[in-house]
């Protein structure tokens, strides 16, 4: 599958941000995920063509990083299990997520609705235990609020995931005062940043 004109345009703009084309590999891999919802061989070939390296070189790079996923659900639920979250009960939070969704750590639901993973520190240690949904943060979780969160994801299947929404509905005390509401959110299991896929309000 070749990229849509809109995606091609975004890709050109990304490549232009770097002194050397090859540096665009990482952002273009996110763009490839946006295009198809996950990383595919065709997506990697497209990235290689646009950055002047072979598909094998793209694969070598992509496979190094955990956020480029060849298999992932519509939403990605990442539960932190590093030290500060561990001390405040992240195991129970992960168990609650796995139990409520029926999806164990590292797996994707059969219907493709969501994936569950345990991850290392996501920089929300002051609001431990913390979770990200499509990399949007929610802090101060409990097993019960985590259950409610994934139930909401499954029942509502929201188009856009926003950190402030999650925090308001399900979160507890955050690491620091987050300031004003950020209208931008994620539209898939990749970070909501600039050209890779964001949605405002």
């Amino acid at each position: 599958m070749t990229w849509s004109p809109a995606t091609s345009e975004r890709a050109d703009a990304i490549v232009a941000r770097y002194p050397e084309r090859r540096s665009a590999v990482m952002p273009l891999l996110y763009l490839a995920m946006r295009e198809e919802g996950r990383l595919t061989d065709e997506g990697m070939k497209e990235v290689g063509d646009r950055t002047g390296i072979t598909a094998a070189q793209v694969l070598a790079a992509a496979s190094f990083y955990t956020m480029y996923k060849r298999e992932v659900g519509r939403h990605l639920v990442s539960v932190c299990r590093s030290i500060s979250c561990h001390l405040l009960g992240s195991e129970a939070v992960l168990d609650a997520v796995a139990d409520e969704t029926g999806v164990p750590d590292g797996e994707t639901a059969l219907d493709g609705s969501l994936s569950v993973e345990s991850v290392e520190c996501i920089g929300a240690c002051g609001g431990a235990p913390a979770i990200q949904v499509d990399y949007e943060m929610v802090e101060g979780m409990t097993p019960d609020s985590a259950r409610a969160l994934v139930r909401w994801l499954l029942d509502e299947s929201p188009e856009v995931i926003r950190s402030d929404d999650l925090q308001g509905r399900f979160g507890g005390s955050p690491s620091f005062d987050p300031g004003p509401v950020d209208p931008v959110g994620a539209i898939g299991p990749f970070p909501a940043f600039g050209p890779y896929g964001t949605a405002a309000t």
Binding site: A24, A61, G123, C125, G126, P180
Partner: protein
Amino acid sequence: MTEQILTTRMDAHPSDSHTLARYEQTGGYAALRKALGMKPEAIAEEVKASNIAGRGGAGFPTGVKWGFLAPSTPRYLVINADESEPGTFKDRQLLERDPHQLVEGIVISSFALGVNHAFVYVRGEYPRPARRIQAALEEARDAGYLGDDILGSGFSLDVTVHLGAGAYICGEETALLNSLEGRRGEPRIKPPIPAVEGLYAQPTIVNNVETISNIPWIITNGGAAYDAIGPEGSRGTRLFSVSGHVERPGNYEIVMGMTWRNLIHDLGGGIRGGKELKCWIPGGASAPWLVPDNLDEPITVQACARLGTMLGSGGIVVMDETTNVVAAALSLVRFFAHESCGKGTPCREGATWLERILERILHGEGRRSDLDLLLDVSDNISPGLRWPPAMTTICPLGPSAVSPITSIMTHFRHEVAAMVSGEVPAGV
């Protein structure tokens, strides 16, 4: 005496500290105007005179590092916003709540270093911080603080925000540069150092978010003023992330020299639920732990070195009396085992070994010989088990995995032994 440098604005103006309007209204970009009227070498001199040391973990004096920058062009400045050391969330707050402070620091630093293209490498799990810094860059460009011929000075600068994709090792500066070049994020063997051969094999300075966020203040007030804050060898303020079993977790900007008791008990509000303090990690997951006997030690680089640990990334993780230290150590060791890039054997194999041994102890299957085995394996990764470590590994990640082991074996060996002999029930 100045108590706050980095967090004044976000504390005073929580609703809009990230906007250009508020930044300018509170004196922002005046330092840039001043800097553009100075000679680049004079700016670097002020930074050197400030004696500020890097806030990314290694604590190298920033002015000295800048002095190593090789003369060839183009050269690059790369801001390390990969913050992924467990227990650390300070750069996230600086990026989200005061991004213009960092942007101004980037422009001033680039002018001083003769850089026309800078990068901000933000970890992939930080989309909101990346959005905030990107928005700030766009506002700054529209206002003429960035782009071509900045404020009519003839100096031009472009800044690219780059997102990582989930690899702790990319915080190590040479791995970060490989990643920025579109490669696997494996560390490079040094030398050459990045200041000589960095991004695209050109001279490159890599600095942490917090380090560069201090630059506007240093230029406004002068290097000597910064050098007058805090004790010798630990100048300036630092933003510490306090988490774990404290009443009031959060980021605290303090003048170095304050005691641990002040930070944990006064600022952090003491231990949750009125429990007793058991131990704490003073500088991110890599740092050897401290115990209540050390509470009245000052928070300085020197005192930490004397106690065989470090301030590292500024992540302080507090554990109360009920903490199962074997489970805590396992959480930390597992992190390093998983984040090892796999390039070096002692790191890759050693960390996995340590993880397995801790796991079996925790599951009540520990052997008496495991106590010595933990130390043997550790010694292979970090010979002599000293801090700062001697290394058999390519980068300091390997020895970091050893810190939790030496910490529990030094301070809580009896607890590990009791778990192995079945005197106390194992399990989390």
